[in-house]
């Protein structure tokens, strides 16, 4: 009996030691990646201040780039996780209020954050889908920054990031959670297409759709992921009118409702007719 207790104790002690070593390894590995400093030249962006540009920025931020999904309706940030195992992770306050980035960011800092996924000190961000936003054209990025700078200040001090074990494990299993690592920061960027009812412009607008619908829009693999939007996928029997009706009203052609907690159709539905037609044209090109 005593011998078996001794072996049991040794087994438990070994498992605890192994677990502690694994936790240490995971922590070190992720923290080292997050401590890295990224240095690259920031392309100068013209940030306009006219009303039309700010309105263009508001349109993009509140519709197809889904910024409010994570940063909150007033873009003043909100906590995502706050427990010892997931850690403390928040989407930043983008306004100029207390705890916000608006009052302290230069235009270059905004570019660094949105396009490259690194903060003002060059350290990588997590969660921010910069690998999708990297292709936003200079004019649109300037408009977005102009809109963000025009936001009314909201005081919202959020806690500093402190990743828990579960979040660190998630980062190990998916490198794109640190977008700075998967972006080629010096690669030439294709010129942004001119706004038009064209498949090319539709592709440009649908960049952020890849977050849920997968990199080639053929549907995600996780539960709650977006549908297959390619030729042989879930929209095969839809017409352009039905596509636009679905995104405007949340009602599919056969009358079923689109769950707004899964597909943010209320945001996408605010795109203009031409923008939706452009996206539809692009989807028709996908096989």
């Amino acid at each position: 009996m005593r011998r078996s207790i001794k072996y049991l104790f040794l087994l438990v002690a070994s498992l605890v030691a192994l677990l502690a070593m694994s936790v240490f390894f995971v922590n070190r590995s992720v923290e080292q990646r997050l401590a890295r400093t990224y240095e690259f030249p920031i392309e100068p962006i013209e940030v306009p201040s006219d009303a039309a540009a700010i309105e263009r920025g508001r349109h993009l931020v509140t519709t197809i780039f889904f910024c409010q999904e994570c940063h909150g309706e007033d873009l003043a940030g909100k906590p995502h996780f706050s427990d010892p195992l997931s850690g403390t992770v928040s989407a930043k306050n983008l306004t100029a209020g207390a705890g916000g980035l608006g009052g302290k960011f230069s235009d270059a800092d905004w570019v660094r954050v949105i396009r490259h996924g690194v903060d003002e000190d060059g350290h990588p961000l997590i969660e921010m889908p910069s690998n999708s936003y990297y292709y936003i054209g200079d004019a649109d990025l300037g408009a977005i920054i102009a809109f963000l700078k025009s936001l009314p200040p909201v005081d919202n001090e959020l806690p500093e990031r402190d990743l828990g074990l579960f979040y660190q494990l998630a980062i190990l299993s998916d490198p794109s959670l640190i977008p700075a690592e998967v972006i080629d920061h010096t690669a030439p960027r294709p010129p942004a297409p001119e706004p038009a009812v064209s498949a090319e412009y539709g592709k440009y607008l649908a960049t952020a759709c890849t977050i849920c619908h997968g990199p080639d829009l053929s549907g995600g693999t996780a539960a709650g992921a977006g549908l297959d939007l390619t030729g042989g996928g879930n929209l095969t029997e839809w017409t352009e009118a039905e596509f636009m009706h679905a995104l405007r009203t949340g009602e599919r052609p056969r009358g079923e409702d689109i769950d707004p907690s899964r597909m943010p159709w209320k945001r996408v539905g605010k795109l203009t007719d031409d923008e939706l037609r452009a996206i539809w044209l692009y989807l028709q090109t996908l096989q």
Partner: protein, 429 residues
């Protein structure tokens, strides 16, 4: 064991009080069963609504499976407490201390499920009052047992003041939660202090009793029972601790775009942890009835071990056969379907026959395991007798058989002295 037995010697007034207490136990038990039974659909719906469907699906499970599992887990706790409480009541409700245990078991087993089924503020005042009554009885009797077990007397005597004060504190906390006297309205550090002081004094009382008062047998019985009583007092508080430490466990829903951006691994990790935590904490609540089962079976607390033994054997047998049946039907259906494209009926018939064939061998095996764990002496005696019968079959020499008989008597009965008288049966003697 030494306990005050009222069945034969109690005066008429005590008899009436005991009768009233027994009637109250039956009424409370019916109330608990009714509250739990009526609340099961609501509990199931609440459990399903409280989890992120995406993480359940990504774990390869379904929402109904998740809801059924946790509902079943909570019901297991209720049923285990009810069964042990009912047996104690049935066999020993003529003893106040056993009656108090029966109350504590029935009410404590339902505390967690009732708090989930009928959260404060979301049900009618009448239901709230009934749930409060069950909670009150459970928490008061649970702590009282810590002070009274095993002989029903307060030792030291001043500890009865602690129980009276505890009953008063809980009364205000449960029935007038917003009043200044309510424990629930006090700062959390003060609440914790109260909990530590009252359970600490109870443990001190048990330690004092253990060292100074109890007989050796009572000490053995007390060891197990105190483990359960300690958990009965601290368990309900311990259960909710993870939700205080890990608030994300209570509210796991995040925007879908964030869920998809992060990927399912973080959420499935959290769900697995949540399930393991819930399962572990819920099963830990079973230690309260289980410790009394051990005290009853192993150290013959209240001499009701035979009934508990049968309950354990047939409970384990039923559970095992149900698992075999469900697993067998699922496995055979898959096999037959793969081979022939159909086979539902065949799988059910084959599994039913297998379960019928397994009944007796499995019952014997479970009985042997329980005897080995809890009736060691009887188990060893049975083994010694079996070995002796083997020896007798092989031995022809009377002297050898006599020696073997003496040996087996010494091993099993352990008398101070043994001798054999062999009757001379020669013809004419």
């Amino acid at each position: 064991m030494t306990t005050a037995r009222f069945a034969t010697t109690m005066p008429a007034s005590l008899d009436k009080r005991l009768l009233a207490a027994r009637t109250a136990w039956v009424a409370v038990t019916v109330l608990v069963v009714a509250l739990v039974a009526l609340g099961v659909p609501g509990l199931y719906a609440r459990l399903i609504a409280g989890v992120d469907e995406r993480s359940v699906t990504d774990l390869g499970w379904t929402l109904p499976g998740y809801g059924t599992y946790l509902t079943g887990l909570y019901l297991l706790v209720v049923v285990a407490h009810l069964v042990i409480g009912a047996i104690v009541f049935w066999r020993r409700s003529n003893e106040w201390i056993a009656l108090a245990l029966a109350f504590a078991l029935v009410c404590n087993g339902a505390l967690l499920p009732l708090s989930l089924i009928y959260p404060s503020g979301s049900v009618s005042p009448v239901v709230q009052l009934l749930v409060g009554l069950v909670t009150y009885i459970g928490l008061v009797t649970g702590l009282s047992l810590l002070y009274l077990f095993p002989d029903g007397r307060f030792i030291p005597r001043w500890t009865q003041l602690m129980v009276i004060a505890w009953a008063g504190l809980l009364f205000f906390a449960i029935f007038t939660p917003t009043s200044a006297l309510s424990l629930a309205a006090w700062p959390i550090p003060l609440q914790l202090l109260v909990l530590v002081v009252w359970s600490g004094v109870g443990l001190f009382a048990q330690l004092h009793r253990y060292l100074e008062v109890s007989s050796p047998l009572q000490r053995q019985q007390t060891k197990w029972a105190i483990l359960g009583l300690g958990l009965a007092v601290l368990g309900p508080f311990g259960y909710f601790l993870p939700f205080v430490i890990l608030p994300a466990l209570s509210d796991p829903e995040v925007p879908n775009i964030l869920y998809q951006r992060i990927g399912p691994s973080l959420f499935t990790f959290s769900l697995v942890f949540r399930l393991i935590g819930l399962t572990g904490f819920t099963l830990a609540l079973l230690i309260f009835p289980a410790s009394f089962v051990v005290a009853i079976l192993r150290y013959r607390l209240w001499d009701i071990d035979v009934i508990i033994n049968r309950t354990l054997v047939y409970g384990a047998l039923t559970g095992t056969l149900a698992l075999v049946y469900l697993g067998g039907v699922a496995l055979l259906q898959t096999m037959f379907y793969g081979l022939t494209g159909q086979g539902d009926q065949l799988a059910i018939v084959a599994t039913t026959l297998a379960v019928a064939a397994l009944f007796n061998p499995l019952r014997r095996r479970i009985q042997a395991v329980i005897d080995r764990r809890f009736y060691r002496r009887r188990y060893d005696a049975a083994r010694a007798l079996a070995a002796f019968s083997g020896t007798v079959q092989e031995e022809v020499d009377l002297e050898d058989v006599s020696q073997a008989l003496l040996r087996v008597v010494e091993e099993t009965v352990q008398p101070l002295q043994t001798s054999i008288w062999l009757r001379d049966i020669r013809p004419g003697s």
